[in-house]
């Protein structure tokens, strides 16, 4: 199967420079086929909620790729309730890149971007996306919108995309200071963004619909928070990709009925789940879901499981539907990925305690300076508090920039260490 996907990826890559439409059609055909597979033949070890979210995530890639005229290109932290109000599909930069990697086609996109002058040291998610944009495999969206969260790559990729397509660009600057003044400033920008959309869609904003979407997002977050509580002592079989689907649920898809349904079903699945077993890990930052040694070690495994990723529940705030702009702004400003790394580390420490994990994998994704440079601080703080931490260098998107051998050795040694530690603790 892996060889077949690799051949498919090579086929897509070969089309990128001269036949971008063919490359896109191939990708779409693969995604449609995968969706049918998920709907008709769901993996037997996956809970219904997880499978449902996999289909929702697949749709979130298919729709914007197939219908650029109804699409806005967005960054992962962009609050998309405003887009939902107008029925605009968000094309999520990181999601698109993940799915390109899923099709084993990232090499061609990344090479295309680098040949166009994009630095090799740039984040691979953004390189793959830019390869798609500059080659026009990804067609011109209506507009581009991004926040300054959570990294510098946003300031470059989306500006480049807007300039390349010649479409309007809206930039939401999220202050680094986590304060109510920052919330007000960000909310004012979201109001400006609403005007930007009114102009694009040539119709006024339906404020009531926006409030309904924000309320739905608030309910979803509450249910997902309740799932966190249940995860402490339950075992629900999962795949490392599931946590990435949840990243979409917690951000760009928040406010949609599909994600609210997922949160409800996940809560139900967890209530029925068996008692916890094996090694439990908190994963920090993105997950190289394509890497064979990680899939073999962590997917559907009762020996060792990633119970949560710190990219989820990172922005838990009470939503006030009567103040939709402030609610969305507060989510951005108080997101744990905003501000000093200490906020993110302390919040992860809180997750460790709440979920009762055995250890933390701190993944340094290629090109993510914010995460990489905070690695030693994170390890020090987590280990001071009793949570062994593995700093794992790799690439969440570019399979050519990661060494399976190195990953396997580090990961397996870490699990062995945690198992011994747990056994000793139990004996004591």
């Amino acid at each position: 199967m892996a060889d077949m996907i690799q051949k498919f990826g090579n086929l897509v890559d070969a089309q990128i420079p001269d036949h971008p439409n063919a490359a896109r059609r191939l990708l779409l055909a693969a995604y449609y086929a995968k969706r049918v597979q998920l709907q008709r033949f769901p993996p037997k070890d996956l809970s219904p909620a997880r499978n449902d979210m996999a289909v929702t995530s697949m749709n979130a890639v298919i729709h914007p790729l197939a219908h650029p005229e109804k699409t806005g290109l967005v960054s992962i932290f962009t609050p998309c309730e405003l887009l939902q109000t107008y029925g605009i599909y968000p094309m999520v930069a990181e999601a698109m890149s993940c799915y390109i990697t899923g099709a084993d086609a990232e090499r061609g996109f990344i090479d295309y971007a680098v040949e166009e002058g994009i630095p090799e040291t740039f984040c691979s998610y953004h390189k793959a996306l830019l390869g798609g944009i500059l080659s026009e495999v990804i067609r011109k969206p209506r507009f581009v919108v991004n926040t300054s969260l959570a990294c510098d790559a946003n300031n470059l990729t989306f500006r480049t995309a807007a300039e390349h397509y010649g479409v309007p660009h809206f930039y939401i600057d999220v202050p680094y200071d986590c304060s109510e003044e920052a919330v007000r400033y960000t909310a004012d920008q979201l109001r400006e963004f609403a005007k930007f959309l009114e102009e694009d869609q040539k119709k006024p904003l339906d404020l009531d619909e926006l409030k309904r979407r924000v309320a739905a997002g608030g309910r979803t977050m509450k249910k997902l928070a309740a799932c966190q509580t249940l995860k402490r002592d339950r075992y629900l079989s999962n795949d490392i990709t599931d946590e990435l689907y949840e990243v979409f649920a917690n951000h760009v898809l928040l406010g949609t009925p599909e994600v609210e349904r997922f949160a409800g079903t996940l809560l139900r699945d967890l209530k029925k789940a068996e008692p916890t077993r094996g090694i439990r890990l908190l994963w920090m930052h993105t997950i190289p879901f394509y890497q064979k040694p990680l899939r073999e070690t962590l997917n559907f495994s009762s020996r060792c499981q990633v119970v949560a990723c710190d990219m989820n529940y990172d922005a838990y705030c009470e939503a006030d539907p009567d103040k939709p702009f402030e609610s969305m702004a507060r989510r951005l400003v108080y997101d744990s990925f905003n501000g000093p790394s200490d906020r993110r580390i302390r919040r992860s420490l809180g997750m460790c305690r709440k979920l009762d994990v055995d250890g933390v994998v701190y993944f340094c994704h290629w090109g993510c300076k914010q995460t990489q440079a905070a690695a030693q601080n994170a390890r020090a703080i987590l280990e001071e508090n009793g949570y062994p931490t593995l700093i794992l260098d790799g690439d969440g998107c570019d399979s050519g920039n990661a060494s399976n051998g190195q990953t396997a050795t580090r990961m397996q040694a870490f699990i062995e260490m945690l198992e011994e530690r747990k056994a000793n603790r139990t004996v004591r």
């Binding site: 090499r107 990294c151 600057d173 004012d188 109001r191 090109g367 440079a373 690695a375 060494s403």
Partner: protein, 617 residues
Amino acid sequence: MIYYMCKYTPLEIFAGFGEETERLAPNTDSFDTAESLGHPNMCGYGKGILEAAQNPDVQELVLVSCCDVVKRIYDILKRQGKQKFLYLVDLPHKTSAAEERYMEGQIRGLISAYAAYSGKKFDVKAALSQWSASAVCGACGSAVTASQSINSPEHVESEQSYISLQGAHSREELPEMIRRITGISVRDDTCTGNRNVEAPENIFAAYRRENRTGSERINRGAEQAREAGQSEGEPVPERKQDFSFSAEQAPENLVIHAYAHALLHQMPCMRMADVKARDSLGRNALGVVYHTMKFCDYYGFEYAERKKDPEKPVLKIETDGTGQNSGQISTRLEAFAESLHLKTEREHMGGTGKYTAGVDSGSSSTDAVILDNAGKMVGWSIVSTGAGASTGAEKALNEALRMAHLKREDLREIVSTGYGRETIGLGDDSVTEITCHALGAHYLDPEIRTVIDIGGQDSKVIRIDENGTVLSFVMNDKCAAGTGRFLEMMARTMELSMEDMSRIGLKWKNNVQISSMCTVFAESEVVSLIARNTPTEDIIHGLNLSVAGRTAALVKRVHGEGPYMMTGGVARNRGIVEALSGKIGEKIRVSEYAQLCGAIGAALICADSGGSTRRNF
């Protein structure tokens, strides 16, 4: 002493506390401490700052949230706790009225924090006076008067000929090196260089002229709406603010507001949301030296844009923040100076013979060529450079003389090129291999418009005109991937000779991807492929494609156009030539004298025979 790194730092504020400021200029070549505190993949400047901050003298440091690495430097230093006063100013990405007000809040925060730390009272008049005094163009150093705005076209136009050093922060040696090699002045337009804080009197004059009600109107309006319980999105009438003061008479709050305005409206660095003003950078410069730094992506993006204008000469210099590759940088700068015709006239040693010689001292081989008065090649040699470049050069020249049945005194002039050109102590002058390869390729085939040279240490692509003059060139960065050295390392891994690599690679059957961008990773990938019994010919083909891909990217960067010629030792590797032809979509010509190309060019440079010489064997 208050240390800082970013040009957006509100420096002048510290005069209000009677303190002096100094930019932290890292100059270490080792990042051991920084990498143990952070991560090896931080940019060299960031690592350098972390190293510099370990100096006990750096007790007061003000950082700005200008990029991801600086934000994390703040976190790391805060945890270390070595500084008595460590502060991070949050810089907005936009510059409209709302952001001016946000910046004003940030400056007030800094004033309060420093006052609390030092126990000193802030004197706004002293800060204002410092602001007036320092309102000079950070790039050219000229004072900015009330009638002349720093960013005004008049000011920019008044500049003289210069080289504009742009891109990421560079070490202090780089502008010095450019000045020395090109012989003309250098404007530091890097991210830390062009601090252009407009004079207070300009700002207040503009406020009066525009009858401006100030940035407060937007934010205060929104605040009033909230206070009045008005619904979302309702516009609120403006509240009139008085900006009719002169700078000296203005109360503190307006001075700080105007100062925030001045700081934000400098020439934007690449992290700002609107960077259109940067198009004017280096507009009148004779050329642009563009400095990029590994793992600083902002300026890699801008460089890609700058390269799109084939009319403006741009030289890319990439460093890792250390001063370790000054040899490579020097070669590039010399070639750039040659292409801009900035190099001073050569004075040859006055030999009277009829022949000229060129010696190309490379990292693997040293080549020599002797031309007669008609430009005919009468002798040549290729010898291994060996341990000493000088010995290799002497040997190569002697062998070429022997072939031509000549003696040393028959030579009118000798020009050396290649990495060892300055050290071999041979000949009348030295010229970079870029200029020499261009002339050599033109000599071998006058139709050639793009020369591709994959050498032992680096790769270069040179675009030339119908006379063999360099129009533009690019070279690979410090990394070995994509060079002859990369192929040698891989050959060693597979226990093959370079000749075997060339021969066997042509017999490939299946496409194998060697996808790693890193030489070390690529080696481990090759080992994995060997372990999986992948046929050697397919692995070699994968390596050829990898090198071809990197070289094709260089061709694109230089706007290469056919016909193409490949020169240098790697041109003998047919697998590479075929893979590269496939990537470029055009057949690449390889002369039987490909390896001698640099030496031919050097011999042509010699007085009276360069430029117009035609192929003549």
